[in-house]
């Protein structure tokens, strides 16, 4: 059958380039591997040139594939499965890139492209290390591209999934038996509404650049063994490791910021398996960076550097395995898809090949790797740095061991599930780690390599210790941590951790001034430590003092909450959702919140809710502060919804709110109540079921907070006051307008009293006809959750300082010129400041 309206050419070109890239990756792997083993320099050179051609071919192919996928999605060619699944016509153009990396295949493609681009830098810069490094990268490319191949090896087993498969080949349905099936496919499924956020555009590329770049320290470690130059690789690998740590760290926290500001998880970190899976390689990478620095300074810790460099990338692959094979299915809020057996086996193979080969290679060569025989002195810097690295490494193992529970269940058939309070089960261990790391990162740099004179340390850190203790004590008095939930032991540990983190901020700041005499060029490490410690301070304060202000206890509507649950006889857990009826102010924490109105946006099904927050003076009742938040929801077919929070950011705190329930369409079913007509003169009073209605006066062409009419208009407004039985006063202002089109009435509604008021006309006797309608179908409400996050900006500020510190170290270690170094730091600084602190405020 000939199908109508299909655009098959881009797909055919795409198929060709996928194959070309795959073949090129095989050739470059083999050629680079051969080159790395050739002793003869001329022969080696020829192999390298050959391999470069293959690798560049592969890079160009990957970029062409990317462009084609973009083209297909941008033009809504729904004959392609990928466009059908991930694009849709109403999607804003800014999300087109997000469509590409929403899917499994697209994110592998992104990873492939980053590997290729990094490969070009390696070719240009790594000199004699090129062949072994590039053979590792090419091999990884082989695995990644294999997952994009989509070749059938037998009737039902497919090698990877192709980006250019056709919808009609992938799904069966009666419409595909007609040649004009495309006319029936009105729209694609589109980007998951949860992902429609600008972080979805920017977070995946950064995170994948972080993932991709961890292969370089791995490859250098391999090159060290392969060339038998066991220690030489550390110097060139270190700047790459720092680059990777910076990008991966920023990428992880971008995920946190995204979760915080646009997903309704109520925080930036939840120890979710997906978060853990990317944090673990970062922790190991940081451990590796420290052992590499130790090796460069003292020749100690080379074996540990090997191990950590290998493990970083191995855990990146293991994370891929965890998050892409659907094995985490029941444990994570993230939606996972089981991509099919063939892909799962390939991912497993990818992990196994890199893990086994590197670990076996390391084990065989363990004896050959030189180690310093003399033991580190306990008064040496390298000793304490090593301890710090070890703590990082062990905590990463702790985290991944806990995260891997679903894997044990799969292997051993057990039914272990995460504990009741998942976050606390991590926090109670990590808080101890925080204490140790805070103290170590504060003190260690005051030690000298090899040996430090006794008494030197105490003299140097006495002042920072005292300052930190004073600040912590002042905080405890004036701004105490209020995390009582887990008992005094944990609160105590939190205070100790807070002290350790503050101590680290101050000690590092002092070290930059006194230890390094303010020489910023060499201060990268201290700045990074300072940023990290500041981030810890922010994390400790914001998580300890996070408060739910949408507590139902404060809600006038919700009276039955009495502290004890009538069924369980247990104390009520805080009920965190609050229902707001339209236009009825409700007090929430220090604020009085009113749900004013809702409005639709251009996007299908997206609705914004206007919430007015007012803080009033307790005595004078004057509004001292007010702001409006616009949380929104996507209401989809079948009454599904997805919620996007809105945040009011102050320097010292964020007010964070999102709609937890907003579907009340049932309440908008046809209203059968009728208007009851009353004739009133100015000053007259009439009754309704719940009180009295007073017509104060009639105003011509009103110009007030609600209406703005000119003197030339022909408008009458009834100024009405309602007094309900509970002696609440409400204002209503229905109007009647005469213009060239005729008579036009704008009714007013008093939601709190379920009352419609209509200015129906003027009688001959100069009385006003007011229509009154009482309805029980009127209530419009939303249910929301609101938090106050104090000092969350410290988290982002700390992250930015840490990232800049790491970049400064990388610039110094890579011996970049001052110009390029400064350029990198300024660009990164401006970008990070904008993204984390300005973009949303």
């Amino acid at each position: 059958m000939k199908f109508e309206g299909e655009h098959l050419l881009p797909g055919q070109i795409g198929h060709f380039f996928v194959l070309l890239a795959f073949v090129a990756s095989i050739i470059s792997t083999i050629a680079y591997f051969t080159a790395s083993r050739k002793k003869d320099l001329i022969e080696k050179k020829y192999w390298i040139i050959f391999a470069r051609y293959a690798f560049v071919t592969q890079l160009i192919s990957a970029i062409v594939i990317f462009a084609l996928v973009f083209y297909i999605c941008a033009n809504h060619y729904f004959e392609y499965m990928y466009a059908y699944k991930h694009a849709s016509k109403e999607l804003e153009p800014k999300y087109l890139l997000a469509c590409i990396w929403e899917g499994q295949e697209g994110s592998f493609l992104l990873w492939t492209i980053w590997h290729s681009i990094l490969g070009i830098f390696i070719m240009a810069k790594s000199k004699e290390w090129e062949a072994p490094i590039m053979s590792v990268i090419s091999l990884a490319q082989f695995f990644l591209l294999m997952m994009l191949l989509g070749l059938y090896v037998s009737a039902d087993a497919r090698l990877g999934s192709n980006l250019f498969t056709l919808t009609r080949n992938e799904i069966s349905g009666p419409i595909f038996s007609q040649p004009n099936y495309l006319t029936f496919i009105k729209d694609g499924i589109g980007l998951n509404v949860l992902l429609r956020n600008y972080w979805m555009v920017i977070h995946p590329p950064i995170l994948f650049l972080g993932f991709a770049s961890t292969i370089i320290p791995f490859a250098y470690a391999y090159a060290g063994i392969q060339t038998k130059r066991f220690g030489d690789w550390v110097t060139p690998a270190l700047p790459w490791a720092l680059f990777s740590a910076c990008v991966l760290g920023v990428g992880i926290m971008m995920g946190g910021k995204w979760a915080y500001e646009s997903l309704s998880f109520g925080g930036y970190w939840a120890w979710d398996p997906v978060e853990n899976a990317s944090l673990v390689p970062w922790l190991i990478l940081i451990a590796g960076i420290h052992t590499m620095v130790i090796y460069k300074a003292t020749a100690h810790s080379l074996k540990a550097s090997y191990l950590f460099s290998f493990l970083t990338f191995i855990f990146i692959l293991y994370s891929t395995f965890l998050t892409r094979t659907g094995i985490l299915g029941d444990t994570s809020v993230h939606a996972f898809t089981d991509a099919g057996k063939a892909i799962n086996i390939m991912i497993l193979l990818f992990v196994a090949v890199f893990t086994l080969s590197s670990m076996i290679l390391l084990f065989i060569n363990l004896k050959n790797i030189p180690a310093e025989q003399k033991e580190e002195n306990t008064s040496s810097r390298e000793f304490w740095m090593f301890i710090g690295s070890l703590i990082f490494f062990l905590s990463s193992i702790f985290i991944i061991a806990k995260t891997s529970v679903p894997v044990y269940n799969k292997i051993f058939g057990t039914k272990i599930a995460q504990p009741e309070n998942i976050e606390f089960s991590y926090n109670k261990v990590i808080i101890l780690v925080t204490i140790i790391i805070g103290l170590l990162s504060a003190v260690t740099q005051y030690f000298k390599y090899k040996k430090t004179a006794p008494g030197f340390i105490l003299k140097k850190i006495a002042v920072p210790t005292i300052i930190a203790a004073i600040i912590t004590a002042l905080l405890a008095i004036f701004y105490p941590l209020t995390y009582y939930k887990m008992g005094p032991g944990f609160l105590g540990a939190t205070y100790v951790a807070l002290f350790a983190a503050i101590f680290s901020v101050i000690a590092n700041g002092t070290y930059i001034v006194t230890g390094l005499n303010g020489k910023l060029k060499v201060a990268g490490g201290s700045i990074a430590h300072l940023g990290f410690a500041l981030m810890l301070v922010g994390i400790l304060i914001s998580s300890s003092n996070k408060k739910v202000i949408s507590n139902s206890g404060a809600n006038g509507i919700n009276l039955q909450i009495s502290g004890k649950d009538p069924m369980t006889r247990e104390a009520d857990n805080p009920q965190e959702n609050l229902t707001l009826i339209r236009q009825v102010p409700v007090s929430m924490g220090p604020y009085e919140v009113t749900y004013l109105k809702d409005s639709f946006s251009n996007e299908k099904g997206r609705r914004f809710y206007e919430l007015l927050f007012q803080r009033k003076d307790a005595i004078t009742k004057k509004v001292i502060e007010q702001f409006t938040l616009w949380p929104d929801v996507y209401i989809m077919k079948d009454n599904n919804m997805s919620s996007n929070p809105d945040t009011k950011a102050y320097f010292s705190k964020d007010i964070f709110t999102y709609i937890s329930y907003a579907i009340n369409n049932d309440n908008r079913i046809e209203d059968t109540a009728q208007f009851l007509m009353k004739e009133l003169a100015e000053g007259d009073t009439t009754f309704y079921s719940n009180g009295i209605i007073i017509l104060n006066r009639v105003i011509k062409n009103p110009d007030n907070e609600k209406y703005h009419f000119k003197a030339t208009d022909a408008v009458l407004m009834a100024d009405i006051t309602l007094i309900s039985k509970d002696s609440m006063h409400y204002k209503a202002m229905p109007i009647i307008e005469v213009d060239e089109f005729g008579i036009n009435q704008i009714d007013d509604t008093v939601y709190a009293q379920n009352l419609y008021l209509k200015f129906a006309g003027v009688t001959d006797g100069k009385k006003i006809k007011i229509g009154i309608k009482e309805s029980d179908k009127l209530i419009e409400y939303i249910t929301l959750k609101a938090y106050v996050f104090p000092y969350i900006n410290l988290v982002w500020l700390g992250l930015i300082i840490m990232a800049l510190g790491i970049i400064m170290s990388a610039v110094k270690r890579a011996k970049l010129s001052t110009f390029y170094g400064a350029l990198a730091i300024i660009l990164a600084g401006v970008g990070l400041f904008y993204m984390f602190l300005l973009a949303n405020n």
Binding site: I175, A417, Q418, D572, N577, T783
Partner: protein, 151 residues
């Protein structure tokens, strides 16, 4: 015994620290977490473990009404869940109603079984809409497109 002590003194400080830390890690993992871990249960096995924190994997019982009235109490949801082994229980979730509940194919609930209901602390829904790779769902969607009125 003597050799052991000798060996021990010969060991580098670093090795001792590594060993001690690994021991500490194992202690952290076992002692800190052992009692903590919960288990996946069926409804009937959970009924035998009343008051214990468990994870239930079940489905919404569509023959029973879902009770949720956000105006009266936004923090009270009750519905019935059934599992593949025929167990059935009332569920009370003191929070806002997850909006995909009716559409969900599978519900992972965490909480404690009480005498006549399951006190749920947390709900994780597995919905077909989130599973774009679900073949059947795609087939349904694309077939419906033919006659659906799309606004």
């Amino acid at each position: 015994m003597l050799t052991f002590t000798l060996n021990f003194t010969c060991m580098k400080k670093k090795h001792i620290i590594i060993l001690v830390s690994i021991a500490a890690l194992i202690v952290a993992l076992i002692i800190f977490s052992a009692g903590d871990f919960s288990t996946y249960e069926t409804i009937s096995s959970a009924k035998n473990k009343q008051g214990k924190f468990v994870h239930l994997i079940a489905k919404l019982d569509k023959t029973e009404p879902i009770e949720y009235d956000a105006v009266n109490n936004p923090n009270f949801l009750s519905f019935y869940a059934v599992d593949s082994l025929g167990g059935k229980t009332k569920v009370i979730f003191r929070n806002s109603k997850p909006t995909d509940l009716e559409k969900s194919e599978r519900i992972v609930m965490q909480g404690k079984m009480q005498a006549d209901y399951f006190e749920c602390k947390d709900i994780l829904l597995k919905c077909p809409s989130k599973y774009k790779d679900d073949q059947k769902q795609l087939e349904k969607t694309i077939t419906n497109q033919q006659d659906s009125v799309y606004k």
